[in-house]
């Protein structure tokens, strides 16, 4: 069980700001994205723009294997625009 956080355009498309999701403990970041899109299909349009933040560290979508602990924070990060 990880906590998925949505921000900016991803929050608008998901319709929620956070939710708890059950995912395998070992999963690639791309597989995790697919799991999330299964639940929140309107996020699919963001596929080529987003990255994750896992435990507040950036992770690109790809074959990188994530080892997730229960309660970990996984954030969907659309292109940033601070400043």
């Amino acid at each position: 069980m990880v906590v998925v956080l949505y921000f900016a355009r991803s929050a608008e498309l998901a319709g929620v700001r956070s939710e708890t999701v059950s995912v395998p403990q070992r999963i690639t970041s791309l597989q995790l994205w697919d799991e999330i899109v299964k639940r929140r299909s309107r996020l699919a349009v963001l596929r080529d723009q987003v990255v994750f933040a896992v435990r507040q560290e950036y992770v690109l979508l790809g074959d990188q294997l994530l080892v997730l602990q229960s309660g970990d924070e996984v954030a969907i990060i659309p292109p940033i625009s601070g400043g």
Binding site: L5, F7, A8, R9, D48, Q49, V51, A53, Q56, Y58, L60, A75, I77, P78, P79, I80, S81, G82, G83
Partner: protein, 155 residues
């Protein structure tokens, strides 16, 4: 080191409240420094000919603070003479002409603080998870910094 020497400090704040330029410049003032450089970002009234009513900012606050902290660390590595660094970013609605971000850096001589402020704002735009919605009269748009590090990568 004499008795007035203070430790270098990082002042990082994300807040819904109005930002104060005086407050930030006082924070980084140091008796051993002759130079303070600042960058202030303000809301512009137009984008590509469209009238902008205000900006609305949101942040992944704890991570944004951690990423700003990393920028401060990098700045000190690149310019060891630097004394204090302050980064204040406003969240929520920011009307036209009001301040969204202030970056201030103090150093004994000016070249380090001038370079560090440029580096801080460039890097903040590339790495800190903060988002800005630009509100026009009848629509809005989520902005994307051209500096955003992953949309800049070769695909």
């Amino acid at each position: 080191m004499n008795e007035t020497e203070e430790e270098p400090k990082d002042f990082i704040k994300l807040t819904q409240a109005k930002l104060s330029v005086d407050e930030v410049s006082v924070l980084v003032t140091s008796p051993c420094c002759g130079a303070i450089s600042l960058f202030i970002g303000t809301t512009r009234d137009n984008f590509n000919g469209k009238k902008v009513v205000h900006l609305e900012y949101e942040a992944y606050t704890p991570m944004a603070e951690a990423e700003i902290k990393k920028i401060c660390r990098d700045v000190r590595k690149k310019w060891p003479a630097i004394k204090h660094v302050a980064v204040h970013h406003r969240l929520g609605l920011v009307p036209v002409t009001e301040v969204s971000v202030i970056i201030a850096v103090s150093s004994p001589h000016r070249i380090e603080s001038l370079n560090a402020v440029s580096y801080c704002i460039d890097t903040l735009k590339a790495t800190v998870p903060i988002w800005k919605k630009e509100m026009y009269e009848e629509e809005y748009s989520w902005k994307e910094n051209k500096e955003c590090f992953w949309t800049n990568m070769e695909k």
